[in-house]
Amino acid sequence: MPTLERKLDAKQFVVTAEMPVIDGGGQADVLRHLEPMRPFVDAYNATDNPSAHAHVSPLAVSIGLANAGAEPIMQLACRDRNRLALEAELMGAAMHGIENISCMTGDDVSAGNEPEARSVFDLDSLQLLQVARVLERGHYLSGRAIEPAGAGGAGGPHFFLGAVENPGAPPYEYRVRRAAKKALAGARFLQLQICYRPELLERFLRAAHDTGLTERLAMLPSICILRTVGGIRFVATKVPGVDVPAHIVKRVEQAKDAEQECEEIAYEQAMHALSQPGVAGLHFISFRKDAGIAKLCTRLKIPGGRDSNERESNGDSASVAV
């Protein structure tokens, strides 16, 4: 059982982080990116052509993370693969012992730098979750048995399935129902899209908590650490579904030190998320080249030492004081 699953089941506070994209830097780049955030992060998202730009595949990066002793969460988007390719990718992950899978629709190709490409969307994210569950039952979508069957006669591989949801995109009041539908389809953790409108995140988490959904689906709000005026403008205009209020953009534009202002915004975002009911942990996305995640975690008093085995065996729960 992967540690992310065990920790979330045990209601331990978890930290996940987006692994920066890998291009030509290979495994050395994986190690370089890991190093500063390692003490604070439980598992890393290997992204799947984010913003519809081609990079090293999520399975390859997941293997690289696992080889480095880090726990991967393989993202799988429906944009670039039909159902056969998605099944193959899931089985490939299983072959390498990668069990954490985050299923998502994916940004459209028009958001990227190869807009002439064909969008696939043969499955949607809900159907992809269900297909992963079909594999767990010991056969492919066709009904063909996965052979040889897994240990204990269970048949298929074991996955710890996750999904994403955007509390900041209309129809706001429906988003919790959609999250519940994802839980029914097999999702057990939910990484929330970056949300610069705290009232919408609050509304989503409140409803998820009040309906008991947070008991079945671990909520991980995203915290985005930017660095420059260009960065906040990029998120405001180019990231689909992320609504950045004008006053936030202005704050960074008018700041004496844009980098410090971005840190402040991320800190406020994190403190707000942590004050909400039913939050199981945080997901960090950093656009900084330095140790932005480590710095923010330290300021948030999130205990480090997650890469230490002794701590693990002592069963020291990483609860966060807020």
Partner: protein, 129 residues
Amino acid sequence: MSASASHGRAAAVIARAEHVIKGPIWGCRMCGQCVLHSTGLTCPMTCPKTLRNGPCGGVRADGTCEVKPEMRCVWLKAYERSEKLPLWRGHFDDLRPPVDNRLQGTSAWVNLITGRDRETPAGWADANP
């Protein structure tokens, strides 16, 4: 003419009639497995991502589509309409199976009567223990 040929011709005539009616009203794409009743009478195949199970996370704050900013999100319309429907509202949250791409261009009316539109891959039905 063989029985299957005449059946095929009749199905083609029905498909044309269906397209003439459903095309202008719902922008029907003739997927051959109609789910309009469960989507607030809004055709999910008009979503640029052809999503069958609800809106993606790319819906803009003003309610327009991530892919086509000039268009209101198909699933936002579907949700609002479904909330107003006296019937089928509970079906909005159904988990709709993957599209059978072989049915593209065939009549959903015929497929409804024959039950063909409810056939799913053998593995699909077994997903939930």
